[in-house]
Every structure is written in structure tokens, then in C-alpha cells.
Amino acid sequence: MTDRCAVGIHGVTKRFGDVAAVDAIDLEIADGEFFSLLGPSGCGKTTTLRMIAGLEFPTEGSIKIFGEEMALRPPNKRPVNTVFQSYALFPHMTVEQNVAFGLEMQDVPKAEARMRAGDAIDMVRLGAMTKRKPSQLSGGQQQRVALARALVNRPKVLLLDEPLGALDLKLRQAMQIELKDIQQQVGITFVFVTHDQEEALTMSDRIGVMSEGKLLQVAPAEDIYERPANRFVAEFIGETNFIPGTVVERDRVRLGNGQVVTARAEQPAGTAVTLTLRPEKLHLHEKVDEAPADYNNITCRIVRRLYFGDSRYYELEAGLGAIVDCRVENIPRLRTWSVDDEVVLSFHRQAAEALSE
């Protein structure tokens, strides 16, 4: 990955009537990066993508692609291509004609267009389907045609709008890996829009989390999960517990039951914070002395037990102002508990991130 900026979005706002679908966002995506825009439906991620594609024009702000201003340029004059959520394959054209469409529009000589289209179709392993119409293909095959149709133009940036949304789980997982491989193979910047956090985490170099038109956090996948910037990001990505508390001093937080625990807290003393604790980072022990020495220990009572096959969830009550969920891997001979058992909940300082209110 180089440091060249593939897509530069500065102060971009898009209003539909009175509603700001995208609200003053700034974002820079590096050349060769696999960048995901993640958020719930209606958060503005698709609108952002469409503005990069030229299918919407921003109300305010600047959109640059490799340094060139594009904000108001029509889509056919931008060096980007899109894989649409619905694939948008032309139903009256064959696979080959679909893939060659962009080349034909750019007046690429016929022979070269045929060759490049053929290569692109081979890349997505549809060599046997060139003469078929889209309606004769499965969902996964249509998806690959859409990908080939976009990539054949060698765009500087490839935009993908929830391209895997219509596929079933197994196929989606296979396509995630395939997409990532293709991206590394062609080295093109990918901007990927999804509401599926798992998909974003597995595929992306960096993720931008959006909500209500605003970009809440832009960071590598691991940072998004381990160090969420705020409550929304922590809650949207994965599962977590929120426990209210007050900062006593740096990295020390007093909880609702009066106990002071160590956490990652950089707020000044006296600040009301919310600790986010991921269920899988919590451990249960029978007695305090069983837990590692530098862990925080809180005595709790089990109020509910849920069996998930690969794991068990325990809901814990400890007078913290919130029920705490704890996930325990289903490993043979590991101790299990029942409702009303008294247990010691322990977690490391690194597992608790203090978020400002």
C-alpha cells in the first residue's frame, strides 16, 4: 500500500430536502487499500459511495480521485466503476456483452475489447457461460459477472455496494475470500459498503463506521473492534456490555457497586464514563485466588444461562447498574455453572475501554 490518496472526501454533505443523508464527512482512502464503509441501513454509506461514483452529486464539499476534483463530474467521466447491490446486469445482453459494455463505451478497439472481456470472465471463472443471459445464471454467478464487468475497465477505484447481500451464508463467505484475493491480485483500491460488521472486519484494511450521515470512526479493523471511539461503534460492531462508572484517576474507574477497577481510561478524574466489556474477554472463576493476579475480580450471581453450541452465555448480576453477559467457550471438562451460583468475574485492564458519555 502506498501513501497516495485514491479518494479524498472533504467536507461533503448531501441533503435530500431537509434531510442530510451525509453530513460534513472527511475521509481519505489510500491507493490500493480495501476500505469498508460500515453502518446500519440509512446511515449514508451508500449515498457516500454513489457520490464517489457520480450517481449523486454532493450538496457541498469536494471529492477528489487521485487528486483530481470529481464532485460534479458525470459518472461516465470518472475513472471508477461500481458493483451494484442488485448487480444491475443488462438482461438483454449476454455475459460477454455485459462485460464488454464499458470497453465498447470507451471506444476500445473490438479485438482488444473481446480479449480483455474474455480475460475478465476467466478471472471470475465463468469462461463456460459467456453466451448466457444473466437470467440463466445463479446469484453467485451474476455477482461475479458484475465484478468482471467493473474490473475489465481497470478502474482506479472499484466501488462495491453491498455486493454480497443477496447471497446465502456459505456462498457469501466464499465470495468474501475470493473478493479479497482478487483485490490483492489487481491491486485496485476497493471501497466496500456493507452493513455486515463481520464482513467488514474480515475483508478490510480499514473501516469507516457511519451513523446518521456522520463518520464516527475510521481505523484498521482491529482498532475498530478493540478500541471503539464511542458507544455506537462499540455496540454496532460485535457484542459488548456497557457498565457505567466514574474515572478515579488515569486507568482507574469506580463502578456502581463502589469497587474500583483498572481499565483503559484517559479521561480526567471525576468524568462519568461507560466501560465497554466484550463478553468473550471475561472469565469466570469459583474463587478470587483462581484468577490471574493483575485481573479485576467482581463477585457476581448468575441470573441466566444460555447454550449456543460453541459457547455458553451467562448473565451476571453484581449491582453494577447493568446485567453483564459473559461468553465461555464450550471446551471439554471446563467448569459450568447454574443459575443462582455465585462466581468471580475477572477481566484484564486491556479488556475494559472507558468511553466518554
Binding site: 459518472p75 461516465n76 466503476n81 451494484f84 442488485s86 444491475a88 438482461p91 467493473a150
Partner: protein
Amino acid sequence: MTLLEEHPPVEAANPELEAQSVKAAARRGLLHALPAYVYLVFFFALPLVIVFVFSFASRSTTGRPVLGGWNLDSYARLVEPVIRTIAARSLWLALLNTVICLLIGYPFAYWIATRSKSSNRNLLLVLVLIPFWSNFLVRTYAWRVLLDSNGPVTGLGEATGLWGQMLFTQPAVFIGLLYGYLPFMVLPLYAAIERLDWSLVEGARDLYATGWEAFRKVTLPLSKPGVIAGSILVFIPSLGAYVTPDILGGAKTTLLGNYIVTQFTSGRNWPFGAALSFVILAAMLIATIFYFRSGGKTL
């Protein structure tokens, strides 16, 4: 468990039962279609047979059709120059009307179909349909007033020096046909354009197509069923038009429809009128089938 086991095993397939259900479905289908069948037999097939039979009949000295003395004389007369002139004129007017209706109707239907509010779309469609609320004959007579030598259209033509008296000329017939059949072009076009998947147009634009190229390569081919349906709905009645040329046209604008009517009335030549009707019907049927086929291939 024991209860379940006591049931007789379910047979994999019961051919007799299956055949019965297929028959029952066919019976129900026939029952649904029965009124339409009866209608078609009595008001289409039977009259057609009568026309067909009369086309081989002969005439008495006074011109009465005589069912007997069967001959092909009426068919032989179809190649007479007067028929060729009238057929060519009708064909030309019907084709011109279809093309102009398409050129006016497509942008209009496109415009209606792309209004974002459905209430606006419905309002515009109602406006297209409003003329149907009054009788076609009355509306055609209204055109007579408009096109008359004292009428506004003639006035405008004389003021600009572009045209003179229009009534009883071919342009008047054409205006009447265009006016009468434009809605039949707009409605099927609207239906076809309205259900277009606009993400396909966005896809084309994203793939470097200009607005015009996206229209030519995507919108137009995908709205072809509407173009075909609209063209047939305009072309066929235009070719057989009777009321419009009769009221707005003159002696030099006789079309096939008028000519056939004349054969059955003042011409007193039923066999010839019947033969002409039948040949036109057959030609139209064949042309329509070809037209549909040519559209079907690309869809």
C-alpha cells in the same frame, strides 16, 4: 410412536389421482374461459366465416349478393389500380401515424413514467385518458370545427402563410388519426417504461455511457415490448380507419375502411367488400406475427 406406525405407508406417487387433478384443473380453466369463448365464436369467428363465404358469392343484376355461382372474381379485382392506390394511401397514413405517435408518445410516456410521485403519474395518465370520456364521433366532429375554413387552425395557417384550408384533405385525416390514436401509443409505452429497473441505466452511466448511449443501449431495448404493443395498437386501427377519413377527409382521401363500407352500401358489391376485408385481415395477421417475432428475439 406406535400410533404413527399404524398408519398405512404413504405411496410415493398415485398416477390415477394425479391424472384426475390435472383433468380437474383443465375443467376449471375451460369454465373460466367459457364466456370469452362464446363471445369470440359468435361475434368474431362466425361473422368471419360469413364474410369468407360471401367473398366467393356472385351478384344478381340489381347487385344483390347471391349465395351461389361461387367464383374468384372478387379476389381477381383486388389488383385493380384503384385498390392499389387506396391501399398504398392507407398503408402510408397508418405507418406515418404509427411513427409520429411513437415519436410524440415515447418522450411523453417517458416523462410521465419518470415523475417521482405516483400521484403525479396517475394524474397525468388520467389526463391522457380524459378524451375517452366523450364519444369518438363527437370529438372527430369537433376537429371538423377546428379545421374548417372559419376555424382557428385554418386561421393560424393563413396568418403565417404556412397552410390554407385543411378540412377534407389528407393532412386533416392525418391530424384526426394522430389525435385519435396517440393515447393507444402512450399507455403501453408508459407501462413498459414505468417498470424499467433504473439501476440498469445507472449501471450503464457508470460504465462510461453518456445519457444518450444509456438510453439507446439500455432504456430503449428494454422498453421494446411497449414500443411493439403501442405500434400494433396504433397501426391496425389506423389502417382500417373509417370514421376519421369519412368526417375529415374528402373524395381524394378515401381509405380502405371507407372503400369497404362503400362496397357494402352504395356500391352494392358485397362479395368484393368481403374479399377485400378478408385479404386485409390475413395480411394484418401475418404482419403482426412477424412483428412480434422480430421483437421477441431480442428480448
